[in-house]
Amino acid sequence: MTTTADRVEREVHQLDRVTIRFAGDSGDGMQLTGTQFTRTAAVFGNDISTFPDYPAEIRAPAGSLPGVSGFQISFSASDIHTPGDAPDVLVAMNPAALKTNVGELPAGGAVIVNSDAFTPQNLNKAAYAANPLTDGSLKQYTVFEVPISTLNARSLDGLDMTSKQVDLTKNFFALGLMFWLYERSMDPTLRWIDEKFGGRAVVAEANRRALKAGYAYGETTEMFHTTYRVPKAKLAPGTYRNITGNEATALGFLTASKLAGRPLFYGSYPITPASDILHQLSAYKSFGVRSFQAEDEIAAMGATIGAAYGGALALTGTSGPGLALKSEAMGLAVMTELPMVIVNVQRAGPSTGMPTKVEQADLFQVMYGRNGESPMPVLAPATPGECFSLAIEASRIALKYMTPVTYLSDAFVANGAEPWKVPSLDELPDISVANAVRGEGTFLPYSRDPQTLARPWAVPGTAGLEHRIGGLEKADGLGNVSYDPENHHRMSLLRAEKVARIANDIPPLEVFGAERGDLLIIGWGSTFGVLRSAAERLVADGRSVAHVHLRYLNPFPANTGEVLSRYRTVLVPEINLGQLAFMLRGTYLVDAIRYNRMRGKPFRISEIVDEAMRLLEATPR
């Protein structure tokens, strides 16, 4: 911490919220730097929201524009929903990082650059004709030029390391400087260094020295006249941890298997941005998790069906291109009415698209991307933390209704992090269901529960229940192959009705803002934070605006049509070209207005506010 003498010289500004973006080469460790800052802010008690934004290439050429990796964190003294529209501070480790990020920095923002990296060669790689640090092009910002590489190397003097190894620690110098600037303790990161590099004394020492040198630089140099203080946020009482969406997804399904009393099966093929779920579940062997890296997406889906047939809580995970390959087998899951969850962590498409970037354009794919009438429930988590509860909910629906369920995450919610209140296990629902057992008379594998229309789960090994199922149409009740025309019509209706009835078993839409009025903003998935923040601003401004968020996209909550009817204008912002809007129009005959941007990035709060204002003004009362 700063000394008393320093405090006299320096101002401390108290702020409600700060957004920092760390940007550097993909080899510069920006994701780690951001994660460390996040943990520290979270442990301190701020509300946080993060946005890692990294290239798909493992290592694009060093110093190049495509190789820039960024991590944005917003930390706050009050409840926040997004990682911020724009950073207040940009930490740029090289010219390419400056060039790709500075455009989003508002005038008056602060830029901290590693001035050592602004060599003619690097400037050339970033396609800068002149050095931006000297040509006046940054004059609207407060620029701090710090020779990070040189200072860091000096602090590591005497350690038995190559200059390349030394250079790899400069991100911790930058981190230390930011810790000082925002009055953060270095302790969580120092503990992390001990845990991570405990066995490698030199590396641990180097990282410790780099971190402390950055901190000390802030403290001793005359460059910074102000430090900033963001007090703790008022969060609900409880025990918290920091969690990403993919982590919460894995933990949610692990918990669901416990709540269901069935071991978890996870069959998957590696694909960005879903692979983390495979990695995490593979580490839970002591829970009896059977994780399976399949030879391809189709095999992962087939194995998931096999595991569901065998009585496990069966799960597969992928992203859009993988889901395309799974489609035929997903149809088999619908036809055989077996319970399982299919996770799709959406990314920008079509085809390979932009694998690390966010998009919501797979809604039609999961709704309609199979042959025949193939209804499947669809759920979408709104926030990283909610991935946990929605994983349990997806499992509950799958088991209770004997149906495959799609869980539609995306790259933003999957990689983003926020503080998560750890639930106590006794507050979670019992989602267990019984296997079918031998009864009187002929066993009917396609008989149905009168309320849920679920068929019996007759797992192999149950004497007296030997039966045959498959992808061919089934005779109602008996389950034998049937080409009877009326039977096919009846079975098609039954499959649809079974999914439709779930609407009575899920929470109704909750309205934020005006109960009725001028404008309803309705969205789904990871746009929640931005849309809610926009609605908060509009409501605070006295506008007749409301926001509702769909976590269930098939079936829609029972009150959806009624809620839509209470507003003069309905705005549907989506990171696609209007898929939910199309479904709402088709389902409720509502004149839903679309707002669509496909940039591989989350919306900005300001653009939603602007669009809402435009609509409010265009349709006077």
Partner: protein
Amino acid sequence: MTAETTQPIAPLALTRKDFVSDQEVRWCPGCGDYSILAQTQKVMPDFGVPRENIVFISGIGCSGRLPYYMNTFGFHSIHGRAPTLATGLKLARPELMVWVITGDGDALSIGGNHFLHTMRRNVDFTMVMHNNRIYGLTKGQTSPTSEFGKRTKSTPMGSVDRPIMPLTIALAAEATFVARTVDTHTEHLQATLEAGGRHRGASYIEVLQNCNIFNDGAWRDFTDRDVRDDRMLLLEHGKPMVFGKARDRGIRLRGLHPEAVTIGEGGVTEADLLVHDAHAEDPYLALILSRMFWPDFPVPVGVLRDVDRPTHSDLVESQIAAAIEKSGEGDLATVLLAGETWTVE
């Protein structure tokens, strides 16, 4: 693994009839599949496994119907994917006896990838591949085992694709049990099914099967009763490779190449012949046998390879057991609180 899994194994007195389902068998009259079904039903009681613990999983094609006719658990899945369902099922329920029923198109064409990978993983199931060298259900197109130049509806001027040898592929894919048999050789078929069913691990059985509608006489040149002794080589572990009506012909190795010889000619004695070793850990002999085919050689039938390796689910279960032994059964509350936590009052 689920709450109520298998019943205790009581002494079983099941017969073939117990394995016949109530479904009417619907293959073309004269199809080789009838024989495969009959021998499968016949051999089932010998395993002493309760019906409810047996699962037949099939893909698409004429062979795909077989599970409907077995009074066990059955799953008629989609084209080529039966091995994937079997993999998931065995991971969830290692104690079940699983049979995968497939065809040359199902296993080698659309499902080729799963064929390779389930074999290399040694998933504990028995795959019975009905090989009729044609697409039957779709009414007569060329298959991965059809002869080069074969004229079919989809190849009116002859197929330009070379056929593949299923046994070679199974061996290359590290299958631990590889065998070939013939639909009409019922005793041999039954014995091969029994050996495959008893093997722990991935068993692959190629059944040379006739499609009397779209590819009649597919294997006739060497399987017909009057020629088969001279044109097929019956493999028996530990025995010299002798064939021929008069038991006077044999296979010996010349350099890297097998050679059909006549005992007594040119000084050849039985001692010069290859002795079959189905249990050899290395695959060389089995690979040589897998490449031998009529008319260059008598066609080997029987078990080419039968070796012991831990099965896929053995390995998975042992990792789970090791993880529990090391750190105890997973505790959910601990995992939920993993990493750095903080408390808000």
